[in-house]
Amino acid sequence: MTNHVEVRAGAYADSVTLLQVSRTVQAVDGVLAAQVAMATALNVDVLASMGFDVPGETTSNDMVVALRLETAASLDAALAAVDEALSSASRRESGTTEVAPPRTVASAERRAPAGSVVVVSVPGENAFVEAVDALEADSDVMLFSDNVPVEQEVRLKTLAAERGRLVMGPDCGTAVVDGVGLGFANVVSPGPVGLVAASGTGCQQVLALLDHAGVGVRYAWGVGGRDLSAEVGGRSTREALDRLERQEDVELALVVSKPPAPDVAVAVHEHASRLTTPVELALLGSGQPDLTAAVERVLERLGRTVPSWPVTGAATASGGTFLRGLFVGGTLASEARIIATDRLGGDRGHTFVDFGDDAYTTGRAHPMIDPTLRLEHLAEAGADPDTAVLLLDVVLGHGAEADPAAVLAPVLAEIERPVVAVVVGTAADPQDLARTVDALASAGAEVHLSNAHATRRAVEIVEAAQR
């Protein structure tokens, strides 16, 4: 073991740099201890306590390099390490100066322009706090997340009402805000109809049908499936209607929802009666007109011509017993179930599967993004001779799969059972509606724009097969 002490008169580095240099040199092979420091009284004491002899004539403007080495042979390497560490300490490193992204909505609100719309799709148990951040910053919220407890929904909507903000959701899949589609939304032009929708795919069906009829929509406010329940009391529906009322170019407001709770229905009707904008209700449920019929009524009220809803291709009955409905849109599935069971007199073994249901989405993406699961079921049902007809939906628009026909058409081409499909989309959707319809029709499907019409055709095929 050997000590080496040298004084570098006039050399200077700040104490923090020197601590770092000391640490670097200490890690060099053969170095037992290293202390590079300005020769202040304190540091000279520290050096003395370490057993180094510092020459008495040093001042605090001198740098002391004190090294304890295993053998003198390590000295050159150790001194080289000191010089290297000193020069690298003063070298400028280009660290990243990029600003990290915000970690909460509250933080994002400080950076984003005022009056933003906040889209929340974190897991349901975490969605509430992000939504509160948004409302406290006076933003509207689109709550895409599901599994948000109803008491949290009530709290959010109460807070929103205090601030004149709107909570769309929870479980809100679709909204159009001044022409901008949020969530899964179709590309539509501005126009005379304003929508208030408790259902995402229900809203998309209406957008698609209106678009085909040449009627645009500037605002489609989502409200969440429970908004017209007794607990929630239609808070978002009323705010959304008030907003449409203020929008001069809205000639008619259409509310798409499950039938409301009786008290809420009264409240909403009263609210609507105070508005100058006429309000049409499209209620989803047994005994109610289907969405296509509701859209036709809207067109009639506006004095527009009701077009014929397009059909491409033709499916024909060829035996089998059951209707197999395989859906990605929850409202489309339930509309089909209601229409079909009314006509066929109960379930009777027919099935209407919603692949967007929680049972199929836990731990995986929504089927409008990831078609794998439905494709498997489709191939299976398509190979089953008991299948009388396959009924399925394809939903286009922002957020949905980039080219659903590309994976669906090859599977359909292999299927010999009749297939009826509804393609919910508009001409301006990024997926290209016409090309999608053609691809599915070429693969043998009968393709509709109206889910109700598609379902009735499927029912006819079942009935024909059973005769």
Binding site: Q20, S49, P102, T104, S116
Partner: protein, 473 residues
Amino acid sequence: MSAAMSTVPSVINVGADLLADAVSAQAVEVTRVDWQPPMPGTAGDLATVVGDPARAGANDRALQAVLGVTARLVDVLPASEAVGLQPGEFLHAGPPITWERASGPMRGALMGGAALEGLCASPEEAPTLFESGSGVSLAPCHSRSAVGPMAGVVTPSMWMFVLEDTATGRRTYCSLNEGLGKVLRYGAYGPEVLERLRWMSEVLGPLLQASVRATRDSVGPVDVTGILTQMLQMGDEAHNRNRAGTLMLMRDLAPAMVTSGGEATHVAEALRFIGGNDHFFLNLAMPACKLALDAARGIEGSSMVVAMARNGTDFGIQVAGTGDEWFTGPAQVAEGLYLGDYDRSDANPDIGDSAITETAGIGGFAMATAPAIVRLVGGSVPDALATTRRMHEITLGENPRWSVPVLEFQGTPTGIDVTRVCRTGILPQINTGMAGAVAGVGQVGAGLVTPPAEIFPLALSRLAERARDRVDD
């Protein structure tokens, strides 16, 4: 295209990136939140506390209360007069602690304090005294409106700065800083430590008292909050770097000290001592921060942290909406650089009330303004900027008086929100000195440390409980 005429200014997306992409594709600006799940087990309490109707208003009031305080140096007094400390009473840093659970540096400081007060003939005899417990009692500085750096031991004969909020007359207190190296607050208790403390009581304290009072009565009391404003623009973050603050304090007090009638040699000794101790101002920065934060204590529903403090064994926080309750977990060992040939195995876990500076938005929170000390952990200047920016993620607001020039004079991140710490998992960044683990060693290094993560869910849980109780009432 309708989007071109849209009045939608921008979208904030939290969750699936796909939804942000869909909006981007429509040529609308999207701010993407880098969301991650909250600390384990906190989702339910977060919903309760964030949903508490009292929270937003309470936090606003808490933040404004803190920002509204101006701390002025009005007096210097022995602890016996300042906080009424009786013989045998010891104040210490951090949450409450017993001799049995006290760490090496805490014991060392208590031993030195006992000897200083003449409770035993030498520090070495003090352990018997504390073990017996007869005639001695320990209490946190925070319980007596005081703060103490490192071990934070205060005994009746030690002199303390007295800071006052002019608007309310509230006061806070802190002992005088002894300098670096072998000092009581780092757990050293050798003869030179006690000799320095006696000189501070006999010479420095009275001189400071005379000059503080004369300054107060002539040009007005020293505005400590104002010095903090200036020093943050001069490379100090007021925890591990107090160089500019110390010199400004000396500038303000020196004329009155010179004319105080004290012996010239004593005045020279005092000025040399202050000027030679870059940390002298720390003991004013700390009580100034406490004075500000105490203004927010007891605001029901507020989730703002009003104290972070360590006793060398436990790290504790107190929250505006949960009274004087401490939420504690094990203190961590800092990451940093070591003096001499000390290493991590020599370091005691985190100790001291000085994290009150971070609680008030400076120290580690103002790292961007003191890039020199980011090298304590081998970091870079961009790291310093990133640290300050990161602290904005967990704080309620900014301090308009305390700004950081290099961040376009953005105010320092102020008011740690328990809910945001639990949501983001980002822990407060604290700059700190490191004491040796063995009593009597003194300082072994300096570095960066964070609180133990689990104390924030503990505090959150209590906030949730109180929110539920209020609804039930």
